[in-house]
């Protein structure tokens, strides 16, 4: 389609910069998002996650090179929006609108909206066509929003803290619907969230962002190979430290957990039991000192 979009990247960002007052929200941010992936953009509060999403969606001006589906969101936003959908963490559905009216509205403005599909999704919920948004619980509003968005045949779906404030049943159901009825190899999903444990097995790729910079960008498989956590035995502490763990914490009963980056697992196995760190542990280790 577009010669400028290299390989099959859905998003290609190079050297993004965005300052709010005197603080840089994006500071030379670069990343690539290939097609057919579920990518988690994870970072502490104020790291630049939402700013990055806004840049991708063409909602803010910024400096740097950014192509989304081969287009520049600053100048080709309208065309881009045919292929991109977005669920924000804040309620955007007007409180007075009825479910039926919301469906009619999206059907009217979006060429790729499939009304029957949307109604099929809603049939599995307790939402009634005549219900108004203001009568719905937070979980039901998200169900409505998700049904509207999943009925659009978009190439990129951007989710900003989609399950924030939902109870565990709604949260689980949210990702279940997304995986069962929406995601396929032609679609790409970009999620920001603080609920790292909740998405870690859903993600195919992960990006950590800190102070406006991408500090880790890798497929989940590669994360499992690159990082190893070791329960170091007391007599191996010095030898293990010599291999420069990126994090170390003491546990009760005299064990020490160390996290290594890029040291082969067989070499570490001599120090104690090894395992793949959870994304949450990796996140905490990577972001150490952020709020200090």
């Amino acid at each position: 389609m577009n010669a400028a979009s290299n390989n099959n990247s859905v998003v290609s960002a190079r050297g993004l910069r965005k300052a709010y007052k005197d603080k840089l929200a994006l500071d030379g941010t670069s990343f690539e998002i290939p097609a057919g992936r579920i990518v988690g953009l994870i970072g502490p509060n104020g790291a630049g996650k939402t700013t990055a999403l806004k840049a991708i969606l063409g909602l803010i001006p910024f400096e740097g090179e950014l192509k989304v589906l081969g287009r520049d969101p600053r100048t080709q936003r309208d065309e881009l929006m045919n292929d991109v959908c977005f669920i924000a963490d804040v309620a955007v559905l007007p409180r007075w609108i009825r479910v039926r009216e919301a469906i009619e509205f999206v059907a009217g403005v979006h060429p790729r909206f499939d009304r029957a599909r949307c109604e099929r999704f809603l049939a599995h919920t307790q939402l009634k066509p005549e219900s108004r948004v203001r009568e719905l619980s937070k979980g039901m509003i998200v169900q409505l929003h998700l049904a509207l968005v999943m009925a659009i045949d978009a190439k990129l779906l951007v989710l900003d803290e989609p399950t924030l404030g939902l109870d565990i049943l709604y949260r689980k159901q949210f990702y279940q619907r997304l995986l069962e009825d929406y995601f396929d190899e032609d679609k790409t999903i970009l999620i920001t969230t603080h609920q790292v444990e909740e998405v870690e097995h859903i993600l195919t790729d992960v990006m950590f962002i800190r102070d406006g910079k991408v500090v880790l960008e890798a497929p989940m498989d590669a994360v499992g190979e690159r990082y190893v956590e070791v329960m170091v035995n007391a007599d191996s502490l010095e030898a293990a430290r010599a291999l420069r763990p990126i994090d170390e914490r003491a546990l009760p009963f005299g064990k020490t957990v160390m996290l290594f980056d890029g040291v082969p697992q067989p070499r570490l196995a001599a120090f104690g039991e090894t395992r793949t760190p959870g994304l949450a542990d990796l996140f905490v280790a990577t972001m150490k000192g952020t709020y200090a």
């Binding site: 689980k172 990702y175 279940q176 995986l179 069962e180 097995h201 859903i202 498989d221």
Partner: protein, 122 residues
């Protein structure tokens, strides 16, 4: 919705594969049975579909399941035979030596073991 605790020791796709293998050994999945679709498994266990596909691919590589075009994955006729052979092999090379070691450590004699195995406790 079954909550599954994945362990940190092995990649998830391998744990999923082991789970399917265990179901075959237990006879829950029999030759000719269909596996649930990648999508269903992904949604149910909240895994990305690539992980599920990878587990299925390994099962297919070992000829335990086969892809029927447009229909999905099915347990092969020879799956139980293959599994039995490989599980026997694994028992003999991995588990049995440990059991043997324990028997020796406890100083148990062959006649005592046989007596117990033949229901000698009753």
């Amino acid at each position: 919705m079954t909550a599954i605790q994945w362990s940190d020791g092995a990649p998830i796709y391998r744990q999923l594969k082991e789970r399917v293998v265990a179901m075959m050994l237990d006879g829950v999945l029999k030759p000719g049975d269909a596996l649930p679709s990648v999508r269903q498994v992904a949604a149910e266990y909240q895994l990305n579909p690539i992980t599920v596909s990878r587990a299925y691919q390994e099962l297919a590589d070992e000829a335990l399941v086969e892809k029927r075009r447009g229909l999905g994955m099915y347990v092969t006729e020879e799956a139980s035979k293959k599994l039995l052979a490989s599980e026997r092999e694994r028992f003999l090379t991995e588990e049995w030596p440990q059991v043997m070691e324990r028997i020796q450590r406890l100083g148990l004699r062959a006649d005592e073991l046989l007596k117990s195995a033949n229901g000698g406790t009753q």
